[in-house]
Amino acid sequence: MSGSQTALRNAAILILLVLICWQLLYWDVGDIALRSPAQTLSYVGTLLVGDMIWPHLWETMRAFVMALILAIVSGLTIGFTLGYSRSAAQTFEPILVAFYSIPKITLYPILLLIFGLGISAKVAFGTIHGIIPIALFTMNAVRNVRPVLIKTGKVMQLSQADMVRTILFPAALPEIFTGLRVGFSLTLIGTLLGEMFASQSGLGFLLMNAIGLHNIDLIMAITLILVVFAATVSSVLLFYDHKLHGQR
């Protein structure tokens, strides 16, 4: 069985396991706290056919994409700069690492005070979640490029820009990509959390609303939509991640 066939088979097994556990949990806990997979799926169907959910979906997507672009561009820039310059790295890396380790959720009130309620706060939440892992992974990727490859570039008298473009970037790409993958997940979570606390629209807001109204159908439906979206994109990114690493 080929590699990708095995991967698909494993994914199918995983999904099946999740569904079974879900159903068992439902039978155990009951309607008071859960809905069965079938019920949730049909509710999702109803939602997608209707009008209510689409503006919220659009709102979340909008904020998420903005946050992601910001996080990627800034993260890559910071990562490359720190990876290239040893002194900058030595000075700033501990600050970055410390920032990574703090529960950014505690900064939300401050961000809310700065940005007010609205889309900029959400984008800010999303960005601060994603930017650090992207920067850190990129920095390490550039630092870990084998010295012999850089020496080779020097011997070929490559200009600085050429060196970055043709040697540094491709050599560092697998690890950068892992950082982008992690950044994607964290930015999504950050944007959602932002919506839960700081917004009047979007899936996060809907979720908080549903929690407040004890609307279990909606809670489960939204969670399912989010999980399917995140899992699908993440798996595609993971596939490419493995391919990039496999080339070595």
Binding site: K151, T152, L158, R248
Partner: protein
């Protein structure tokens, strides 16, 4: 007046400061050396004696702390001179490119027409026996073949000076011997001056016109041995009577130096 030598080291010395301490390490020199145009020159010496430093000085990858280095009569500053090719000990092939693209990368800074480029790449592929693997990726090749890719990448630029820093160090003995033969073929074919660093005495004795013996750190040239081999030689030169003498002479000079180096290396 420019000297007739292809490469000249004049009282060249290299010292550097260990990162994170005030200690200054005198790595190499002073060394005086003239490389004749078109000769095959090997350098042997104990570990840590500064052989690689000497190569990096000639390649322009580092500058001398004292004294100077010249290539074709021009001083080498921090610039990498044109016409110099370098092969390192570690595998420097780019894992994200095919063999062909790896080799073509060597022509990056040249302004050749497409036909010329393809021509040079094909010739290099042939010369190094890689034609069947042109579209493979380095990860699919053995260590020896990857080194051949690196050598081919150097060859396409038609260098006048080829520097090799223990290029076969990571390979097994039989492959080394065969690669040695290939190196000799290349040397004759290209007419370039070859500067080879190796820790294998038999390799130096077999391949080179002249062999420089370096002392333990700070490395200085203790002796230069002339082999006087005919130009069209190969690894079967080991059968010649003088091969044993030359290797013995190298070891005589090196043995004490190596022991000194091991003593120091214990503390490193």
């Amino acid at each position: 007046m420019t000297s007739a030598a292809h490469v000249t080291l004049r009282a060249a010395e290299k010292s550097f400061q260990r990162p994170g301490s005030k200690e200054i390490v005198h790595a190499m020199g002073p060394i005086d050396l003239d490389l004749r145009k078109g000769e095959f020159f090997a350098v042997v010496g104990p570990s840590g004696c500064g052989k690689s430093t000497m190569l990096e000085l000639i390649a322009g990858l580092t500058t001398a702390s004292k004294g100077g280095v010249e290539f074709e009569g021009n001083a080498i500053g921090n610039r990498i001179p044109d016409g110099v090719g370098v092969v390192f000990q570690e595998d420097a092939s780019f894992p994200w490119m095919t063999v062909r693209n790896n080799i073509e990368f060597g022509l990056r800074r040249t302004k050749l027409s497409r036909e010329e480029r393809e021509g040079r790449v094909s010739r290099a592929l042939n010369m190094m026996g890689l034609s069947a693997f042109a579209e493979s990726y380095p990860a699919q090749l053995s260590g020896g073949m990857r080194q051949r890719v690196c050598i081919a990448r150097t060859l396409v630029t038609q260098p006048r000076l080829i520097l090799l820093d223990e290029p076969f160090g990571a390979l097994d003995q039989q492959t080394r011997l065969l690669m040695g033969d290939e190196l000799l073929r290349l040397w004759r074919h290209t007419g370039a001056t070859v500067f080879l660093i190796t820790h294998a005495l038999d390799e130096a004795a077999m391949l080179a016109d002249r062999i420089g013996v370096m002392s333990a750190r700070p490395g200085r040239l203790l002796d230069i041995v002339e082999t006087g081999w005919p130009k069209d030689r190969d690894s079967r030169i080991v059968e010649d009577n003088r091969f044993g003498e030359i290797t013995a002479r190298l070891w005589r000079s090196l043995r004490t130096e190596s022991m000194k180096s091991m003593g120091k290396a214990g503390a490193a």
